[in-house]
């Protein structure tokens, strides 16, 4: 049994220790807003907050998430910074196909929670998720909007 707090609820989960957090979220908890993109921590579509830090859940074994607090996109609007990020995302109309955007929003939320007014270099270091639709400029604009309102 592995215990973790996901979006404010403590779950006791009967999963093998090496099950990636991504698949615990998607298949055990039905939280499909977190996306599978590559499985090897390359693309960032699976990004969630683990104790407030952006992590790629496809490569985080369940045992490593044990006892920690996980925030997924489903609870993003309960997060004060996350709510601001979502509003900025909508205003900038950042998503196109949308598949990577859960991870992008989570990564931006972690960045702005830690660094409310990031420099372009800090944005670059934090926002490394792939978007095949190429919404990178809209994402940059959205982060700028969210930072302005911090």
């Amino acid at each position: 049994m592995i215990e973790m707090n996901v979006n404010g609820t403590v779950h006791r989960l009967d999963v093998e220790d090496d099950t990636p957090l991504l698949w615990v979220l998607r298949e055990q908890l039905g939280l499909t807003g977190t996306k599978y993109g590559c499985g090897v921590a390359q693309c960032g579509a699976c990004t969630v907050l683990v104790d407030g830090e952006a992590m790629r859940s496809c490569s985080l074994p369940a045992e490593a998430a044990a006892g920690r607090t996980i925030t997924t996109i489903e609870a993003i609007e309960d997060h004060p910074v996350g709510r601001r990020v979502v509003e900025a995302w909508v205003e900038a109309q950042a998503p196109q196909c949308g598949y990577c955007q859960s991870g992008q929003v989570m990564a931006a939320t972690a960045l702005l929670a830690a660094t409310p007014k990031p420099t372009p270099e800090e944005v670059g270091a934090a926002m490394t998720n792939i978007c095949r639709c190429g919404t990178y400029n809209a994402i940059a604009r959205a982060i700028g909007l969210a930072a302005e309102r911090a």
Binding site: W23, W89, C97, G98, G134
Partner: protein
């Protein structure tokens, strides 16, 4: 012929269309995809406006207005980020007189009523075809529905219809200040016979079309609330993971450790499929872990297997060996031989581009459920539901009428989700659902996706230009070599006479420049059946405009002319193109080639390119520098003329996206093989562009009033040549082989 027209024309009435020819059959091996056919269609009347609007008064098939006033619209096109749900709502809202924000749009099921293209006979989402092929249809639909609502109100109010008008969402009688909402009238209106020949609005009175209407799904996509195919959940379903043969074409003769696999946690069963092995389990993670441990005896049971010595380099050698072979004429003007013989100077060049993967962010999946009543439900990402229905019925051995196809929003597509035989996951889901007696969702891992995508073909082109003594072009010859997805999936018979594969040739053909003598030809050279070929964003243009516009720069250089002025001179006959070139120059602050020093101290230059893709015209300027031997692109300016437009904001966004993928393709993307196996199987080895290399993108829309063109793809093809031409201006290095990462650049 353009790709989109060829695609549509490849589905003619009166004979079955073989969607899956030798390649698919050979790759799939077991005959699963053989004879895949669509039934004959009703005769089409191309060019007839009435025929084009064959389904435009079927109001009840498309629209349902709920009592709360919400307008539910069935969209023949699938949403994948291009904004088509919002665009069709915007068009209908204009004529219906409604607020586009009040629409709820869903992807329509397969069926006759939703074949809105090519005289009302064809339906697919691709070729940047959606809005332009359905603009008149949806305007007519909206206007017809409005007339029915007015008629229903007239009956209700006992007034003549002519005394009534509409305001957004309601029918009003101004004199008595009475109004009825569409929601109140919908039921009565739906019972009326749709009128014909309802007049459309004067475009000068448009209040919705042309506006920056927000896309509908942005909030849902910003909060993880969209259900993609991979998220579909069906009661009682098993999850399945697959591994395909290391070399395409091989079949699983046996899984030698099947008993051990079945003993692994959560595993339900182990299956052999055409060209693949599958494990079904309680979760996908369990299925994936198990299937990756499968010990499989792969054998050449039927059809060819990828040769062990196959590589892109070997394929390129095969194409190069065909250089000089007389090809099939695609375009011809004047007497090329005479013109070349009389030229003061002849320059030649060869270009090539690699296999590309779509690399859409959502890995493929499919869910199949056989129902107690003998029907089958299939949820599968797709760009052509009728095609997928035909393939699903064939695999399931059911009458098409017993199959339902559900088309979820796409987590990116770029051409990935057509019916590509072995590159589709739904046949596997159907076979597994049949074998297990349970609903099954198959998900391909990213590694399986990169290994079994339908790739943009590796291509090769040769050019020859004759110049006279003052450096004017007197002769131009271009040839494209290979096999495109048109040949592969629709057969040589679909290519016309003489056969010309538009998916290999467009962009070498269709250029706006005028040359006294010109010959463009297609030299067919097949790719191995184990390499599946697909349509990739902007298709033939994605490589050919790079080839052509780079060579045009080579000619300008040889003639000692500025590449911008050189293009202007070749476009003396076309005000539309000169206007566009001037627009992009102005957008970039005036044409300057450089090299010049930028304020940050870097040495930069600019390149220009033009493209005529999918009915639109595009001019592109890129500014680049070189750092550590690699190109850095700072700004891209795009002027696009789609003739007429629906939503300028969506167009700007689509150009941003198209520029990104175009630049990505040029920088570092290529599918590699070793010993017949794909080696670029995840994003660590298949390099798609990340945020750090994204340039600023500036867009200007020019509405020339020409017939409406496409929007989703046209921004792509101008980018690679504009960048390459900038690099040449900067370094003197001419990049003739994509991707750029193969060339170490000098200077900085």
């Amino acid at each position: 012929m353009r790709t989109e027209d060829a695609l549509a024309a490849a589905m003619p009435p009166g004979r079955p269309v073989n969607l899956s020819r030798r390649g698919m059959f050979a790759a799939a091996g077991a005959g699963l995809f053989l004879g895949l056919a669509l039934p004959a269609r009703t005769p089409r009347a191309q060019g007839s406006a009435a025929a084009a609007l064959r389904h435009a008064t079927k109001v009840n098939a498309y629209l349902r207005i709920a009592p709360d006033g919400k307008i539910h619209l069935q969209n023949p096109f699938v949403e994948g980020g291009q904004g088509i749900d919002s665009a069709v709502a915007q068009i209908v809202a204009e004529e219906l007189d409604a607020d586009p924000a009040g629409f709820v749009v869903a992807c329509a099921p397969p069926g006759e009523d939703f074949r809105v293209m090519q005289g009302g006979n064809v339906r697919f989402t691709g070729g940047s075809f959606s809005v332009r092929s359905s603009f008149a249809h949806f305007r007519t639909l909206g206007a017809t529905a409005r007339a029915m609502l007015i008629e229903a109100a007239a009956t209700r109010l006992a007034l003549p219809a002519t005394a009534l008008t509409t305001e957004p969402g309601r029918v009003v009688h101004r004199e008595s200040a009475r109004a009825l909402t569409y929601g109140e009238l919908a039921e009565a209106a739906a019972a009326l016979t749709p009128p014909v020949n309802v007049p459309l609005k004067d475009p000068a009175a448009f209040r919705v079309i042309g506006r920056r209407v927000p896309r509908f799904d942005v909030r849902a996509k910003s909060t993880g609330k969209v259900t993609y195919g991979i998220d579909v959940k069906v009661e009682g379903m098993l999850l399945a993971a697959v591994v395909h043969a290391p070399r395409a074409g091989a079949q699983p003769a046996a899984v030698t450790n099947e008993a051990a696999l079945r003993a692994l946690p959560g595993v339900h069963s182990v299956h052999r499929l055409p060209g693949a092995v599958a494990v079904a389990a309680d979760t996908w993670w369990h299925a994936k872990k198990a299937v990756e441990q499968a010990q499989v005896a792969w054998q050449a049971l039927a059809g060819p297997v990828m040769a062990e010595d196959f590589s892109p380099a070997a394929m390129l050698d095969r194409l190069k060996a065909a250089a000089g072979t007389p090809g099939n004429t695609a375009e011809e003007a004047g007497d090329l031989r005479v013109a070349l013989a009389g030229a003061a100077r002849v320059i030649e060049a060869e270009y090539d581009a690699p296999y590309l993967a779509h690399a859409q962010m959502e890995p493929p999946s499919a869910t199949a459920r056989f129902n107690d009543d003998g029907t089958l439900d299939v949820w599968v990402p797709n760009q052509a539901p009728d095609f997928f229905l035909a393939t699903a019925a064939r695999v399931a051995q059911l009458e098409p009428a017993k199959v339902r196809i559900h088309s979820p929003p796409l987590g990116g597509f770029f051409g990935r989700h057509f019916a590509y035989g072995s590159a589709n996951a739904h046949p596997q889901a159907i076979l597994l659902a049949k074998a297990t007696g349970r609903p099954v969702k198959v998900i391909w891992s990213r590694e399986e996706e990169f290994a079994r995508d339908a790739y943009r073909p590796l291509t090769f082109a040769t050019f020859r230009a004759g110049l006279d003594v003052v450096g004017d072009v007197v002769a131009l010859q271009a040839a494209g070599y290979g096999e495109g997805p048109m040949t592969r999936h629709f057969g040589a018979a679909s290519l016309g006479n003489p056969p010309v594969d538009a998916s290999i040739m467009e962009g070498l053909t269709g250029k706006p420049y005028r040359f006294a003598a010109k010959r463009v030809e297609f030299v067919p050279v097949p790719h191995p059946p184990g390499v599946n070929l697909g349509f990739w964003r902007s298709v033939g243009h994605s490589m050919n405009d790079f080839f052509f516009e780079s060579f045009l720069d080579e000619i300008a250089h040889a003639a000692n002319k500025d590449p911008f002025a050189f293009r202007m001179a070749l476009l003396a006959h076309s005000e539309r193109h000169r206007t566009l070139l001037n627009a992009v120059a102005e957008l970039s602050g005036g044409w300057r080639r450089g090299p010049f020093q930028a304020p940050d101290g870097t040495r930069r230059a600019r390149g220009v390119a033009m493209a005529s893709p999918f009915g639109s015209e595009v001019a592109t300027i890129a500014e680049a520098s070189v750092k550590d031997g690699e190109v850095v692109v700072h700004d891209v300016w795009v002027a696009i003329d789609p003739g007429r437009i629906v939503n300028p904001r969506t167009i700007e966004e689509q150009v941003q996206s198209a520029v990104a993928i175009g630049l990505s393709s040029a920088l570092a993307e290529e599918v590699l093989f070793e010993r017949g196996e794909v080696t670029t199987r995840n994003f660590d080895t298949y390099q798609v562009m990340r945020r750090d290399r994204m340039p600023r993108v500036h867009v200007r829309i020019v509405e020339s009033g020409a017939p409406m063109g496409g929007v989703g793809e046209p921004g792509t093809p101008g980018v690679p040549p504009a960048v390459a031409n900038a690099v040449f201006a900067l370094t003197g290095q001419r990049m003739r082989s994509l991707p750029f990462s193969k060339t170490r650049l000098s200077g900085s």
